[in-house]
Symmetry: C2
Amino acid sequence: MADREDRGPVEEPEEISPLTLNRLSFYLRCLRQLQEERVKRISSQDLAGRFNLSATQIRKDLAQFGEFGIRGVGYDVDELADHLNQLLGLDRRHAMLIVGMGNLGSALAQYLGFNYGAFRVVAGVDRDPAKVGRSLGSFVVRPVDDLPAVVRESGAEIGVLAVPAEAAQENCDRLIKAGIKAVLNFAPIRLKGIPGVPLKNVDLRIYLEELAFFLR
Amino acid sequence: MADREDRGPVEEPEEISPLTLNRLSFYLRCLRQLQEERVKRISSQDLAGRFNLSATQIRKDLAQFGEFGIRGVGYDVDELADHLNQLLGLDRRHAMLIVGMGNLGSALAQYLGFNYGAFRVVAGVDRDPAKVGRSLGSFVVRPVDDLPAVVRESGAEIGVLAVPAEAAQENCDRLIKAGIKAVLNFAPIRLKGIPGVPLKNVDLRIYLEELAFFLR
C-alpha cells in the first residue's frame, strides 16, 4: 500500500533500526487497544488519525515485512496484531531473571507488566545475604554467585539489571558469562554488551522529557 | 537540508506527534553521547550511520523547528543540543511529586535519572500511615490527603503515579484537582486525563518486546 516515492532509503528487513522496532511495538499497542474496543478493520489513515501517527510511515513500516492490508479496505486488526506478535517474537514465552532485589528489582518482579503475556519473571538474585531466601511471586531469591546454576535451572533468557550504576557493568558481564541471551539494563548508566547478546539500556528520563515538552 | 520530496505530509509545529517527540528526545541523547566524546560537528549521514537512524528522517524532523545545519558541513553538536534542550523544555527545572512510596515509588525517588539535570523529586505522598514521616532523599513522605498543600508548598509540576493499577485513576484525578500540571503514570493501566494536563502512561513491556525481537 505504500507509495514508492515515500519509502526513502530501502532497508534490509534484517537490519531493522531501533526506531522502527519502537514504532512496530507502538502499532501493536494501538492494535491491542482497538481489539479491546472490538474494532475489526482499520485503514492506515484512520489508524494514523486516532493515534496521531503518519499514515505514510505506517504503510512504509508494515510494507517492509510483507503484504498487509488491502487498498481501500484497510488492515484486518486481529490478523495484523497476530503478524506483529509473531514478528516481534511475542508468540512464545520469555523467562526473565532479575539481578538486584532492592526496591527497583522487587518493584519490577511485582510489576504486572512483567508478568503478563509473553513475559514471566522466573528468578531473582542478590549479593545481600539478608535478601537471599526471600520469596517473591513464584521464586525465592538466590545468591548472585549462583548465577550460572540459576540461569541453567530457571531457563531464563532475559536478564534484568536492577543494581546500582557502579555494579551494573560487572553484573552485565556475569549474566552474559552465565549464558543469558539478552540484557535489559535499568541502572542509569550506558553499558557495553557483546555482539550476539542484545542489550537494551532503559532511560526513564525519556518520559519526563516528553512531558517537559508540554510544560514549556 | 531536507529534500522537499521526502517530507511527506506537512505537520504543524504545534501538533508534534508522540513519535516525533520520541525521536527528538532520542536525537538529544545521541548528541549528549557525542558531546561526551568531544565531537564538535556531525553530518546527518554520520549521525544516522552511528545510531542506526534514517538521515532523511533526521533532516525532516529538525527542519520542522528551524534552520539547523549547513549543507556539506553538518550540524554543530553543542548548538543543536542546546536547541533541542530548549525545544523540549529542558532548559529549566521541573519539580516532581511521587504518589505511592512503596517499592516502585521509593526506587523512582532514588533513581539517579530522576534527580539529574532538569528533573528533581521534591515530594512524596502515601496513604499508608506506616510510610508517612519517612525521610527519602531531600523530602519527608506526607499523607496523600495533604496532596493540595503538598503540591502548593513543593511547587511540584509533574505528578508521578507509583500506585497499584486499581488505585491509579483515583489518584490521577486527585493530582489534577490538586493543581499538578502533568502526570507520569507507572501503574500498568491506561489512565484518562483531562485536556490541558498532559498524561503519559509508561509501559515497560515495550523494552521487553524490543529484546524479544532479537530472540526470535
